[in-house]
Amino acid sequence: MKIMNCPLNGPRNISEFVYGGQVKAMPDVNSVSDEAWANYVFYEQNDIGIVLEWWLHSPSSYWFIAERHNASDEIIRTYPADELFKERIDFTASEADA
């Protein structure tokens, strides 16, 4: 049984967790070009090494961040998302969308 350490619930079976994709910096939706947006949506770090990922502890609906090696499957560190995201992001519709 593979164990993941949930920052909220402690060590739990990996089957309780859901992978949520890599942590990527989102470009500004109001000024981004189509190509840069495609790059943000479809491309991620896919060489072999340590990746930064979103994970969900499904029973408690708790999202957090994990550093994991994508070949050895070693989970190096897990921590709450507020360690990386200090400020709240407010989404406002652009004039074109409104």
Binding site: N39, F42, N46, I48, D73
Partner: protein
Amino acid sequence: MPFGLLKYGLSDNYPFEIEADLPAPCELKPRYDVVIIGGGGHGVATAYYLAKYHGITNVAVLEKGYLGGGNTARNTAVIRSNYLTPEGVKFYSASVKLYEDLSNEFDFNIMYSQRGQLTLAHTDATVRAFRQRAEVNKHFGGRTELIDPCDIAELVPTLNLNPANLPVLAGLWHKDGATARHDAVAWGYAKGATQRGAELHQLTEVTDVVVSKGRVTGVKTTRGNVEAGVVIQAVAGHSAPMARKAGFELPLVAYPLQAMVTLPVKPFLNPLVSSSALHCYVQQTSRGEIVIGGGSDPYPLYNSRASLPLKESLISSAVEMFPFLSEMRLLRQWAGITDMTTDYSPIMGLSPIKNYYIDAGWGTWGFKATPICGKTMAELVASGGKVPELIQPFELARFDRFKQVNEMGATAASH
């Protein structure tokens, strides 16, 4: 005849030279017109068609392990064309047509066996999706139809029609569905390619791709450097790291795909059977083993390790479909690394580097495309970079233009 045998054993003609399927290993030449990275089915098929149809034989296939030892040997050898999109159906149908005649063409038995493939629908939504797939298939000349549970029971009497309390409502019956010996496909192509003059270099890992002024000039390998007129990469699970060596990114995510096989038993299961809701497919090989496969792992990994939760879920689904399988013993299990695209279609053709062509994004659907992939990639090379119509929809640039080919018929877990 003991005396006959003794006489034969003592004669000068014994032991006689058996004609080898592949020529003995040789030194790398300093330059090749075409270098193909990856000696799997796709790579050697490309070399074969380059030699056969285009007379291009100054070709080296560079393989870091051994011939067909990667995903060519790790897939579950399903050949079918019952896809959803017109682009996909046209492409995979052309592949099925080539497969049908491949043993004759090679004069080498690939054990192609057209037994039909049956996918089970357990919800109304899946039945609707299957009806669409059947119609698209028929339109492009495939043999696919929707059948009811009575027909299914007749076709596969041993199947449980209420697996995991998910009653079977209908089935997508694809008569063109087939299986073949996957190793033999790689061997047949390699034999044909090397007999025509192409070189296969095993245990030759490409460590770097040399690019200058937007053109690839050669590759660095563990056995020395080689210049190349054109380079093709066909490396399946490691496509993204390889493209990175050439200096560009591919929109791929690598997931392990696990499968397993039981000890052999008498033939009882003719068609290949998969369930859309249980994410599982079951088939019996010509040797009598039961192959059990299913969906990819739940998160990305460049590792072909086994994991207990996935094995448990695969086995429980297989046992739900064929309850007596619980009595069987597993012979072995394995995994391959699949390079998944977000639209479940491959990435074929041109790359940002002028004379560097890509054959990637084969996720869980690469084996069935081997012949047509080799044929179209060879056409691409021979024409000097003119992309054949059949593979134009699968270009890398589609991601930048939001022109994906949404192929939801690509996996056993079809929607």
